[in-house]
Amino acid sequence: MDQPFHLTLNGQPHTVTTDPQRPLLQVLREDLKVTGPKPGCGEGQCGACTVLIDGKRQHSCILPIKDAAGKAITTLEGLSAGGQLHPVQEAFLAEGAMQCGFCTSGMIVSTVALLKEVPKPTDTEILSWMNPHICRCCGYPRILKAVHRAVSEAKR
């Protein structure tokens, strides 16, 4: 049975009327036309669908819309403001940290969450934070360099 859900997406209020069990990822992509978060696995294993919910990273592919209701959701699209890229986006650009790029949205959003939650992460903490993300092009070395760059810029 469809129900209305209120949420804030990238700073804008939205109301969607839909089935409470529908995954947030589908609502974002199909109803709200926000396609930064990608469908990769549907089981919370690859991280391509990662979004921030009240600042914490979540797999939007396995999160029912009812559990996102009333919360503030940030996707890749919400990171840059007025043509100004987020420092993490800049770091990924500077390191050329993408091949096909399908994982990039999740990688960037997760790095933003890392900077918020672990202000001065060690190398080991960075590795284990990023490990839930899959890049099938296996561009891991450059992604890792981008994350390190973002971390050291954030420290400054």
């Binding site: 396609t35 294993q45 690859c46 890749l76 099938r136 891991y140």
Partner: protein
């Protein structure tokens, strides 16, 4: 590449892309086919020929289209657009082809726009596969661009009544220094003169810029649309929408080979806004959301009755493939050498079925408009998809358009059009555009696989430790790199087909990974039998200077000769080399063994790669890194497990691909050879990693593991 003069000439299957397709037998289309035959044959054939001629012929392999205009477009503001049938899926074709055009047109790379993989606009440059973009399409684009530049220079020369060779061109500005006259490309575009001369054919003898004069090629140009990737602006095929679009789902068999006996569509048909299609064996649904489409599909699936078919399990796959060889496996013909040998060795190697598992699964958005079909999809073969759609729906060529936005990975896995055909069939029934995106489980189960391999190797050595004969048979997986690059006395190497139980197709370097794994492991075994160091043994049998160069450089950088002598507990080193698709690779690895957990971890990889003149060092390095790390998966863990016709590990949680934590210390050296033609670099770097690891396991433990994945435990979990 085979430098062995005594090698027997045994025909092998071509190392071309051989991919098992899926036949769609739509009843409706048989009827329409008859109608087309009856009424429209002449039009269809006529239209088809003209359509094909415009784009350089069907099945193009990177050859130039005839007219300059088919390759290069010049806008009134001077913007240059390059048209190519190649696609971008992460290996850098977009960047390299933009560099190629910018180089010859003498403009900055930012002035070049790329239109890729749109079958209504671009020439057929063949499949984006087989590392062919660099050696075939880069030259084709350079020829077109150089021809365009010459035509523009000729226009200026005629205007000013001077010789072409007195003109200079830079950043799209043509200058006659003596008379201080200038013209821009934009001037010639606005006057209409450029468009007129671009109707001319690309001459075959157009001179390309010499490597030593490269300004754009040979440099690390970043991906042109990189900003769109980090902002989410780029629309992948999965992200495209059309007004009124529905989301599709297709009913899959519960097991391989199962036949649909009956299905009741009415529960799904009763759902609001749901379109249900049955056409022969094809059953699918479409709805306004994926969620509703999934519910409709479940309603259909619950009513479906199936008849299952016998299917072998992955536990018995290697016996099954051996038994499937028609006429039996050929015997070793070198009986004389074997009889006289000081030592002889025989071994069999196994390579498991694996999946490409690109981040973006197969997806297609299909839209019909007045009998014309447009499909947005991710494919390495836009023109191949076009042909499949034309054939399946009995349409004239010009009524099908395939558009390929930069998509989320292929690795040889996206050559067949099934998702596009399914989406088109659903859209046809719905009368609305339909987006069909395969789930991860569908991708793991129904996409074609990298073939499993059984490889028999046998060789003989004389008293001095020299190879006197070599016999190498690849069963089922393919002929790529099946020939040995080593001097091996009498040598016979070949691929023979079997009766595979799964759909098979290409994967990064096709069978070269399997063949190189077996060969390089076997060379290591032979070295041990001959009492020789693995490096010395290879070099003693290797004439090819390019392969020797990468091997020696990798060994030097890794400090092989010292490291191989050091015996550290639970640590091993191994090396391997190989050549395929005109490029050369050698790798040394250091591994650590965790005996309590029977685990192998790769600590360090030193790889040297050479593919002629490097077009884009930064992109090449990314490809080599990606190949090595991707190669760790099938080397150590990846393996499709199946039984009773069902895939047992069709999700990432049970099919463990490489992750951040698996990345070893990487020391990669690109050996640039500006004196040699550029070859592709997105595939061959993968072939050294697995055998080097297996050889390191021997160094650490004294055990030979003759299978991929390389596991210390025997047997597989099911």
């Amino acid at each position: 590449m085979n430098t062995n003069a005594t090698n027997e000439k045994i025909p092998v299957a071509p190392a071309e892309e051989t991919v098992d397709g899926v036949e769609f037998d739509f009843a409706m289309d048989r009827r329409r086919f008859v109608q087309v035959l009856g009424a429209g044959l002449v039009i269809a054939v006529g239209g088809g020929s003209a359509w094909a001629q415009d784009r350089g012929g069907r099945g193009g392999r990177g050859g130039s289209p005839s007219a300059v205009a088919a390759r290069i477009h010049l806008a009134n503001d001077g913007t240059i657009t390059v048209l190519t049938g190649k696609i971008e899926m992460g290996q850098g074709a977009r960047t390299e082809l933009a560099q190629a055009a910018a180089e010859e047109l003498r403009v900055a790379v930012g002035q070049v726009q790329m239109v890729m993989g749109d079958t209504s606009l671009v020439p057929d440059d063949g499949v984006t596969a087989g590392s062919r973009t660099t050696p075939a399409t880069v030259p084709a684009v350079r020829q077109g661009a150089a021809a365009a530049r010459n035509l523009l220079l000729d226009l200026a020369a005629r205007k000013w009544n001077v010789e072409r060779n007195t003109l200079e061109v830079r950043d799209g500005r043509i200058t006659h220094t003596a008379s201080q006259r200038t013209l821009t490309y934009a001037d010639l575009a606005r006057s209409g003169e450029a468009a007129e001369v671009f109707k001319q054919s690309v001459p075959n003898d157009v001179t390309l810029t010499a490597v030593e004069k490269w300004r754009v090629m040979g440099t690390s140009v970043p991906r042109p649309n990189r900003r769109d990737l980090v902002t989410g602006v780029h629309k992948y095929p999965s992200d495209h929408t059309r007004p009124g679009m529905l989301y599709g789902k297709v009913l899959r068999a519960p097991s391989y080979g199962a036949k649909l006996l009956s299905v009741d569509l009415s529960p799904a048909q009763a759902m609001t806004g749901v379109v249900v299609v049955r056409d022969g064996a094809f059953v699918g649904v479409a709805a306004s959301t994926t969620f509703v489409a999934e519910q409709a599909l479940r309603a259909v699936a619950e009513t479906a009755k199936w008849e299952s078919a016998p299917h072998p399990s992955s536990r018995e796959i290697f016996d099954y493939l051996r038994q499937g060889v028609r006429g039996g496996v050929p015997k070793n013909p070198h009986s004389e050498e074997l009889a006289q040998a000081a030592r002889k060795l025989q071994a069999t190697y196994h390579v498991a079925y694996v999946q490409h598992a690109p981040m973006e699964t197969r997806v297609a958005l299909a839209e019909w408009n007045e009998g014309k079909l447009t499909v947005w999809t991710g494919t390495q073969a836009p023109f191949g998809y076009h042909s499949e759609l034309v054939r399946t729906f009995s349409l004239p060529n010009e009524n099908v358009r395939v558009i390929v936005p930069d998509f989320g990975g292929g690795f040889g896995g996206k050559h067949t059009a099934e998702a596009a055909i399914e989406a088109a069939r659903l859209a046809q029934a719905a009368g609305k555009p339909v987006l069909l995106r395969w789930t991860r489980e569908e991708e793991f189960t129904w996409a074609y696989f990298r073939p499993a391999a059984v490889i028999d190797a046998e060789a003989s050595l004389d008293a001095s430790g020299k190879l006197t004969s070599w016999h190498f048979i690849n069963i089922n997986s393919g002929g790529a790199a099946v020939d040995t690059p080593y001097r091996a006395g009498k040598a016979s190497s070949r691929f023979i087909g079997s009766n595979p139980p799964l759909r098979q197709g290409s994967y990064r370097t096709l069978a070269a990974t399997a063949n190189n794994f077996a060969r390089e492991c076997f060379m290591d075994e032979l070295a041990a039998a001959a009492g020789a160091d693995p490096l010395d043994f290879r070099l003693a049998h290797l004439e090819n200077a390019r392969l020797r160069a990468v091997l020696e450089e990798a060994a030097r950088r890794f400090n092989w000769r010292e490291r191989v002598k050091q015996k550290q507990p639970n640590t091993g080193v191994g090396l391997a080399c190989g050549t395929e698709k005109g490029s050369y690779v050698a790798g040394c690895v250091e591994i650590a063994i965790n005996r309590t957990q029977d685990q192998i971890s790769v600590r360090r990889v030193c790889e040297v790669f050479e593919c002629g003149a490097v077009v884009n060092p930064d992109n090449l390095l990314a490809q080599v890194q990606g190949c090595i790390i991707m190669g760790l998966g099938p080397a150590l863990r990846e393996e499709m497990r199946f039984a009773d016709g069902k895939m047992r590990n069709a999700v990432f949680s049970t099919y463990p691909v490489p992750r951040f934590a698996d990345v070893p210390e990487l020391d990669i050296h690109l050996l640039n050879r500006p004196d040699l033609p550029s070859a592709g670099g997105g595939e061959t770097p993968i072939i050294a990693i697995a055998p080097a690891i297996a050889n390191a396991v021997f160094h650490a433990t004294g055990r030979r593991i003759r299978s991929m994945p390389i596991r210390l435990q025997t047997g597989q979990d099911a």
